[in-house]
C-alpha cells in the first residue's frame, strides 16, 4: 500500500515538475530580455554620442599663401615682440585670400570669402610669425584654421542638395572649398584646441580646458572635504557613538539628506557660502563645498556599511591583545573596510562629477575663456559646459557637445578604473 502511495506521490511531483521548470525558464528569459534592453539603450546612446562627437576631435586647416609684407601688417623695419603681437594679421589674411581668388570682387562675395577661415586664423598666423620673425617680407604657404562651417563642409557634413537659402555654407564657398581641396590645400588635423582652449563664441575655437580644470579642481575640493569628514563620521557613529535617541535621529537625517534634490544644496551654497561668507562666485572652491555636502551622505552611508561588514572577531582579537579602541579601529577595522569605503566614496565622487544643477545656482555657468589657476578663480565644469554648448544652435557646437560628453565619460571611466585598482590594492586576501 505504501508502495502505491509513494508511486502516487512521484506522479504528482512529476506532473508539477514540468510547470516548475517552465516557470524557471520563463523567468530566465525575462531576465535576459531585461539585460538585453538595457544594453540596447546603452549601445544606442554610445553610438549616437560617439558618431556625433568624433568629428569634433579633428579640425580642418586651409593652406593659404600669405604675403607677410610690412605694409599690410603695419610693421616697422625691426619690429619688437610687442609690435609683432599687435600687427594687422587680419588684413594680411584678407589680402592674401583676395590674391588667391582674384575674380572675387563684390563686397558680399568678399565677405563670404573671408568667412572661409576662422576668426582664430589670425592668431595662428601671429604665433607662426612670432616663432619665425625672419619670414617677414616673404610670401609663405601657411596652414590656417578653417571656419567651423567650411570645416563642416570639408568633413562632408553638409547636404548640398538642400536649397542654398537653407544652408549656412553658400554655393560660392562650396566652389572655393572644392577648388582648394583639389589643389591639396585642405587638411584634417587633430583638434588640439579642444583641449587647450577655453570656451569661445566660435565653435572651431571652443575647448574644454576650463571645464576640465574646473571639474578637476572642484572634485579635488569635494574629495578633501567629503572623504575625511565622511569617514570620520562613519567611524564615530559605527564604533564609538552610543546607541540612543540622538544617534538614531542623526542616522535618519543622514539617510534623508541623501535624498535631498541637489539643487537645494546649490541654493544653500548661494545663500550661505557666497552671500553670507562672501566666498567668490563661480569658483571651484564653492562648487566643491556644495558638492561635498551632496556627497557626504553617500560616503557616510557606504562607509558605515563597510565598517559594519567587518567581522566582529577581528575587533575582539585586537581588543583581546590589549589594543585600545582607537588602535583596533585604525589598525584592523579600517584597513579591512577600506575597499568598501573607497568604492562608496568614488561612487559619490562620480555623482558629484556629473552634477549640474547646484553649480548653476552658484554661478559656475559663466562664459569663461581662461583656465582657472586655483580654486578661487572662476571656472566651469564639464556637465555645465555640455549644458551650455547643447544650447548653442551652430552645427559646430552640436559635435562639441558630444565630444565633451565623451571626455566626461572618459573621466568617469578613469575614476571607476581607479576605484577598481584601489579596491584590488587594499583588498586583503
Amino acid at each position: 500500500m505504501s508502495k502505491a502511495k509513494s508511486a502516487d506521490k512521484s506522479a504528482m511531483i512529476q506532473a508539477s515538475l514540468k510547470k516548475r521548470y517552465a516557470k524557471e525558464r520563463r523567468f530566465q528569459w525575462y531576465g535576459r530580455l531585461a539585460v538585453l534592453t538595457g544594453f540596447v539603450f546603452l549601445f544606442i546612446l554610445i553610438v549616437d554620442i560617439v558618431s556625433k562627437g568624433t568629428p569634433a576631435f579633428t579640425q580642418q586647416f586651409i593652406k593659404v599663401s600669405v604675403h607677410l609684407d610690412r605694409d599690410t601688417l603695419d610693421l616697422p623695419e625691426n619690429p619688437s615682440r610687442e609690435q609683432l603681437f599687435n600687427a594687422n594679421y587680419y588684413g594680411a589674411i584678407r589680402a592674401s585670400l583676395r590674391d588667391m581668388f582674384p575674380d572675387v570682387t563684390s563686397r558680399r562675395d568678399k565677405g563670404q570669402l573671408y568667412r572661409l577661415l576662422s576668426v582664430g586664423a589670425e592668431y595662428d598666423l601671429r604665433d607662426k610669425l612670432i616663432e619665425h620673425p625672419q619670414w617677414l617680407g616673404e610670401t609663405r604657404d601657411i596652414w590656417l584654421r578653417a571656419h567651423s562651417e567650411s570645416g563642416s563642409y570639408l568633413k562632408g557634413q553638409v547636404d548640398t542638395n538642400l536649397p542654398e537659402s537653407d544652408r549656412r555654407v553658400k554655393d560660392l564657398q562650396i566652389g572655393w572649398l572644392d577648388e582648394l581641396r583639389a589643389e591639396g590645400r585642405t587638411e584634417n588635423r587633430f583638434n588640439t584646441a579642444l583641449f587647450t582652449n577655453g570656451d569661445s563664441r566660435e565653435p572651431e575655437m571652443a575647448g574644454i580646458k576650463v571645464a576640465l580644470y574646473g571639474s578637476f579642481l572642484t572634485l579635488l575640493v569635494t574629495f578633501f572635504i567629503a572623504f575625511p569628514i565622511g569617514v570620520c563620521s562613519a567611524v564615530y557613529l559605527e564604533e564609538f557613538a552610543p546607541r540612543n535617541r540622538i544617534t538614531d535621529l542623526i542616522e535618519i537625517n543622514i539617510n534623508n539628506l541623501a535624498a535631498v534634490p541637489s539643487i537645494v544644496f546649490g541654493l544653500l551654497g548661494l545663500a550661505v557660502f557666497i552671500n553670507f561668507f562672501g566666498l567668490p562666485r563661480s569658483a571651484p572652491l564653492v562648487g566643491g563645498i556644495v558638492l561635498s555636502l551632496m556627497t557626504l551622505p553617500t560616503i557616510i552611508i557606504t562607509s558605515r556599511a563597510a565598517i559594519q561588514a567587518v567581522s566582529p572577531s577581528i575587533r575582539e582579537a585586537a581588543l583581546g591583545v590589549g589594543a585600545s579602541k582607537l588602535q583596533t579601529v585604525f589598525h584592523h577595522v579600517l584597513p579591512v573596510a577600506m575597499p568598501g569605503i573607497l568604492t562608496g566614496s568614488i561612487i559619490g565622487m562620480a555623482q558629484a562629477l556629473g552634477e549640474t544643477a547646484p553649480l548653476l545656482m552658484i554661478g559656475m555657468v559663466a562664459f569663461i575663456m581662461d583656465a582657472p589657476g586655483g580654486i578661487t578663480d572662476p571656472a566651469t565644469v564639464l556637465p555645465v559646459q555640455i549644458y551650455l554648448w547643447a544650447d548653442s544652435p551652430e552645427r559646430g557646437f552640436t559635435e562639441k557637445t558630444s565630444a565633451a560628453i565623451m571626455v566626461l565619460m572618459a573621466f568617469l571611466i578613469l575614476m571607476n578604473a581607479l576605484a577598481v585598482y584601489l579596491r584590488r590594492r587594499f583588498e586583503i586576501k
Binding site: 567581522s311 577581528i314 581588543l319 583581546g320 590589549g322
Partner: protein
C-alpha cells in the same frame, strides 16, 4: 598524565544502562521516544538547581578571584551570584550546557563584555588582589595581563609575523627589530607552530589551516606575556588531530601561565584541567578537582550533565 586520568570516565556506557528505567518517568509513557538515551529537559531542572555552589570554589592565594558576580544582558539575568577562584598555574575548565553563562563568565575576567553595550556586570573581581573593575583600572593594561583565545580562530588579515608582533608593538615591549624577531620566534615556538611556519612568516595568517590558525592565535596571546590566558572553546572549530595538539600545548603552557578554559567537550575538560566548574542556567553548581567532579559528582545536575543526560 592528564589523558590517563580521563579514562575512568565513560559516560556513554553508564548512561545507556540507566536509561531504560528512567525512560518511563521522564517521557510520560509515550512510545515514540524509545531511544537508547532519554534526555532530561534542562528547563524542568531549573527548580532543582541549588543557590549554593557545591564543592570548593575558593583556593588559597588565587591568581584571580570573582565574588558575587551577576551579569545582565538588558533584562536577561545571564549569571546569578557566581563566586569562583582561579588558582595560580592551574588549568580550570568551565563546562555546562549551551547558554549556561560559562563564556560570559570567562569574558568578565578580562572585561571583554565591556564592548557589549547592553551588558552589565556586577560583582568583585581581583587579579593578584587588585580590583580589575575598579576606578582607574585600564582595560588595555588588564587585557595585556589577561589574554584571550577565542572560539573561532581569528588571526588578523596580516602576515604571520605581524599577527604575533602586533601585541608587543602596541605595548612597546620590543625596542629593536632583533628583539621583536626574538619575541615572535619565541611565541611561535611556545605555541609549537614555529617549525611549521618559519619559512613563511610573511604569508597571511589567514592562509593557515584551522588548527594552525588557532595556534597562531595562542602565539599572539602569549606574545604579550600575559599572566592569565582565557580560552573560549578554543577547539570547537577544529578536527581531533588539531584539538590534540592544542591540548598538548595547554598542558605545556600551564607551567608558566594560569589558564581558564571553557569547553563543550567533557573529555577535553577531563584531559587538560586540574579543576572543573560546572555552570547551569547562569548558576555555578559545582566546583572541584577535575578527577572528583567527573568520577563522583556531588550535585544531581552535574551528574546528569556529565553522564550525558541533557539533550
Amino acid at each position: 598524565m592528564q589523558a590517563s586520568e580521563s579514562t575512568g570516565i565513560e559516560p556513554s556506557a553508564e548512561g545507556s544502562s540507566q536509561s531504560e528505567s528512567e525512560a518511563a518517568d521522564t517521557a510520560g509513557g509515550t512510545e515514540t521516544i524509545a531511544d537508547a538515551r532519554p534526555s532530561v529537559d534542562i528547563a524542568d531542572q531549573a527548580s532543582i538547581s541549588g543557590t549554593e555552589t557545591i564543592g570548593a570554589p575558593f583556593v588559597d592565594n588565587p591568581k584571580m578571584s570573582a565574588r558575587n558576580v551577576n551579569v545582565f544582558y538588558g533584562d536577561k539575568h545571564a549569571i546569578m551570584d557566581v563566586s569562583l577562584d582561579v588558582g595560580r598555574n592551574e588549568v580550570i575548565a568551565m563546562i555546562g550546557p549551551s547558554g549556561c553563562g560559562k563564556s560570559t563568565f570567562l569574558r568578565t575576567l578580562n572585561r571583554m563584555n565591556d564592548i557589549i553595550q547592553t551588558c552589565q556586570v556586577r560583582g568583585t573581581f581581583e587579579l593578584d588582589g587588585e580590583d580589575i573593575y575598579g576606578a582607574g583600572q585600564d582595560t588595555v593594561l588588564l587585557r595585556a595581563r589577561v589574554g584571550m583565545v577565542f572560539q573561532k580562530p581569528n588571526p588578523f588579515p596580516k602576515s604571520i609575523y605581524e599577527n604575533v608582533a602586533y601585541g608587543p608593538r602596541i605595548h612597546g615591549l620590543a625596542h629593536s627589530k632583533a628583539e621583536m624577531d626574538e619575541i615572535v620566534e619565541d611565541s611561535l615556538r611556545r605555541a609549537s607552530l614555529f617549525d611549521e611556519v618559519k619559512d613563511q612568516l610573511d604569508m597571511p595568517g589567514t592562509g593557515l589551516s584551522g588548527g594552525q590558525q588557532q595556534r597562531l592565535c595562542i602565539a599572539r596571546a602569549i606574545a604579550v606575556s600575559p599572566e592569565v590566558i582565557l580560552m573560549d572553546e578554543p577547539c570547537s572549530a577544529l578536527d581531533p588531530i588539531a584539538t590534540a595538539r592544542i591540548e598538548e600545548l595547554i598542558d605545556e603552557l600551564k607551567e608558566n601561565y594560569t589558564i581558564a578554559i571553557v569547553t563543550h567537550s567533557m573529555q577535553q575538560a577531563a584531559r587538560v584541567s586540574q579543576r572543573t566548574a560546572y555552570f547551569h542556567l547562569g548558576k555555578l553548581i559545582e566546583v572541584g578537582a577535575t578527577k572528583d567532579v567527573f568520577t563522583m559528582p556531588k550535585h544531581e545536575l552535574t551528574e546528569n550533565y556529565i553522564t550525558g543526560r541533557f539533550g
